[in-house]
Subunit: 453 residues, 2 copies
């Protein structure tokens, strides 16, 4: 019945999606300021058509927010759907085979900017809701919040949530803005890493020195900086700063088993980044290293003479930018301070070391025994015929941890993107059958969620 | 008698020197191209006046050379005097209290560009020769070679020597282009360090990676570079590259005792460069570390994001420029290759390390039991009343080792400059009494040299 509905309504639903895609809501380009408002207004209309009780375009300190709700029972649970209506710039235009803002269906794919990220995906959520609402199957309340600044850092969303905590109150947040491994290997993103970032400045002599006159008698700040950095990581790939791993949660045996079954071709992986050998923490697989374990990477380093040829100098200063990806339950504030204290403690008295904390961000994890996760899992199983694998991705989506912090609710990251969908690139696309399967899967999530709740 | 002569001829000798100084022979500035030739011609006249048999302005691939000789006995020893007639630019002019190219005597000092470096000093050599020649005291032959490119790297001198080995044949080279510790603590420069210079490039992935997606699974080339550099120097300040010290000559007990008597105020030294503590190889004093021991300094390092704020990236590449000051008898070619081999050997297979040799230079040492050194020592003792201290300076004067290599002759660095003479800076100067003492000391050197020879 679900399958039949989506098949029968396919053309209408696609035409509705296309009306969103045709508005070039590029948040990074001020020329599209008015398109942002038009796109938000269009979303409002589409949500009303889908059956919400009310929908509003609400002001924020940046681009407007689209809020909508369908309250079936004040005492029932509430699912909040989050998505974003802004898209990445389409440049370089000349690499597109079709017009980026004029969606085309060809070879079974929708071709357009936003076909996946995130108009295509977030519209699946609206259409799943439409089905449930139309067929009186909704046993829980639903809210929608769509922002227009995700591609430029979600700067207005945090303050907006802070200001509208009651309005956005919910039991779980549902997000379709991530991907699956493949249609044959469905997966759910269960974790995102947090982040700490530092800048370190090492000062030796108070002015650059002649490396002949002074070389050998004075600590060189670059040499010292290299030593400070090198000492952090052991030959076993472990971070040797005392206390660094204290709050790192080890994955359960069940989860490690599932992770081990994620298809991974090391040769392909190495080839794709052009390295001869991988390096990481001993005792963990590559997937675990990026998803379940913290990292310590120098993102930038500079000091002394960096021009052509040779200049013999002992520079006064050397700098590095360093970041750690953090995992549950590492607190970025605690880790940031831990590292500052560590460098100050081990700095030799031959130099002055100044460590400055930059921004940080919380990681996120959705336990695989969390009821809403179980509902998502069964939703996938019903439609894809396979239990989805839990995947923790190495990057950060700071807004997910902001939701958890401000609303006290976990997110379930039910995304349906494929790597070949080319988000952020020319020729972004979405297979139509996958898009329809996504709608079906989300419908099943809601049905399963009511059983769990 | 010597003292009387220099006192009586002081005004004339100064006026002759001034005629050289008034020609602005700035080798770094092409506007002074003709001044270089005029200055060389003037030197020729002055040398002929001083009593040489012949003097010539000879072409080189750059500025002309001035060559002169006084052959008293083909079977006798020959002393070759080396100096340079070019000077540093006088800019910034506004900081000069007098005109840089119009010498003035004030407060007992000559004030002018070149008053010390090297017109003032090399002219002492000419006037010492004049005395000896006029009084029939010269028992050995004398040759003079003055170049016009010392301040821009002596690029033409090497090929000139190569081409005129017979003409420049000598037993010892005498150079007045260095300094003494103070008039109360006379000293002779006995050593210069050699140099090796490398650029190292570490390549990890073949393109920059997202530090979230890949952090923890891939060797970061900056982290690796830091480790490669940090591992070279031990906590005892020793360079841990196998074989690095193999050819380093240890100073004799006698020399170490003399070195220990060189006045050195550690607090003043630290204050002058703005450090809280010094660092260097265990078991050696600061003076020994810069004069008698090799160094390993990173002169520049760069890689990844170095702009404002934070960017989370694992860069594809990281670079460093590294130099070692070398001491006798370290061969810079051998050491350069040793370090290249070392880095290639210890590089982990997670990255590609490319080490490129830049230029290198030989060090120089004048043993303190070398006859000509002894003559210089006694020359100083006679005039200054104290045995001069041997001082090895940390920097390099490549031409001195070139002389040794091409002519097979040692140099005696009998310089008379003071730090307060401000060479290369505005208000360069030379105390007149020190200038006269220098002439006397050189005369005594020649007299002592004949006893030694």
């Amino acid at each position: 019945m679900i399958k039949k509905y989506v098949e029968e309504n396919k053309d209408r639903m696609l035409e509705e999606l296309f009306s969103l895609i045709r508005i070039p809501s590029v948040s990074a380009q001020t020329a599209h300021k008015e398109d942002m408002v038009r796109c938000a207004e269009r979303w409002k209309e589409l949500l009303l058509q889908a059956g919400v009780d009310k929908a509003e375009v609400m002001p924020s300190k940046g681009n407007p927010m689209v809020y909508a709700e369908r309250m079936v029972d004040p005492k029932a649970k509430t699912v909040l759907v989050y998505g974003h209506y802004d898209v990445m710039p389409a440049e370089p235009f000349e690499l597109w085979k079709t017009e980026p803002f004029e969606p085309v269906i060809k070879d079974g794919h929708i071709w357009a900017r936003g076909a996946d990220d995130d108009k295509g995906q977030s519209f699946m959520q609206a259409k799943a809701f439409e089905y449930l609402n139309k067929h009186n199957l909704l046993k829980h309340n639903m809210k929608f919040i769509f922002e227009g600044e995700e591609e430029i850092g979600s700067g207005s969303l945090g303050p907006f949530i802070e200001e509208h905590k009651d309005l956005l109150k919910c039991d779980v947040i549902l997000v379709s803005d991530t991907g699956i491994i493949s249609p044959d290997v469905p997966s759910i993103t269960t974790g995102l890493r947090g982040l700490s970032y530092w800048q370190i400045e090492v000062t030796g002599p108070d002015h650059d020195l002649h490396s002949g006159t002074f070389g050998g008698a004075v600590a060189n700040p670059i040499n010292v900086l290299c030593k400070l950095i090198a000492d952090v990581t052991g030959p076993d790939g472990k971070i040797r700063i005392p206390g660094f791993y204290d709050d790192v949660e080890e994955a359960s045996d069940e989860e490690r088993k599932l992770v081990a079954s994620i298809p991974f071709n090391e040769e392909e992986y190495k080839k794709s980044i052009g390295v001869k050998a991988l390096f990481g923490e001993e005792g963990y697989s590559t997937i675990e290293r990026t998803g379940y374990r913290p990292s310590f990477d120098v993102c930038g380093i500079w000091g002394g003479y960096t021009g052509d040829g040779a200049k013999t100098v002992i520079p006064s200063k050397a700098y590095a930018k360093i970041s750690s990806r953090l995992v549950p339950h590492q607190d970025h504030n605690k880790i940031s301070q831990l590292v500052v204290d560590y460098f100050n403690r081990v700095a030799p008295d031959t130099v002055t070391v100044k460590v400055e904390k930059h921004h940080g961000g919380y990681g996120y994890v959705c336990p695989i025994d969390f009821p809403a996760y179980k509902a998502a899992e069964r939703g996938f199983e019903t439609v894809f015929g396979k239990r989805p694998l839990p995947v923790r991705i190495g990057g950060s989506i700071p807004i997910i941890s902001t939701f958890e912090k401000l609303l006290g609710a976990k997110s379930v990251l039910m995304g349906f993107g494929l790597e070949s969908n080319a988000i952020h690139s020319p020729n972004e696309n979405m297979p139509v059958d996958l898009w329809l399967k996504g709608i079906e899967t989300i419908i099943n999530f809601h049905l399963e969620y009511d059983k769990e709740a």
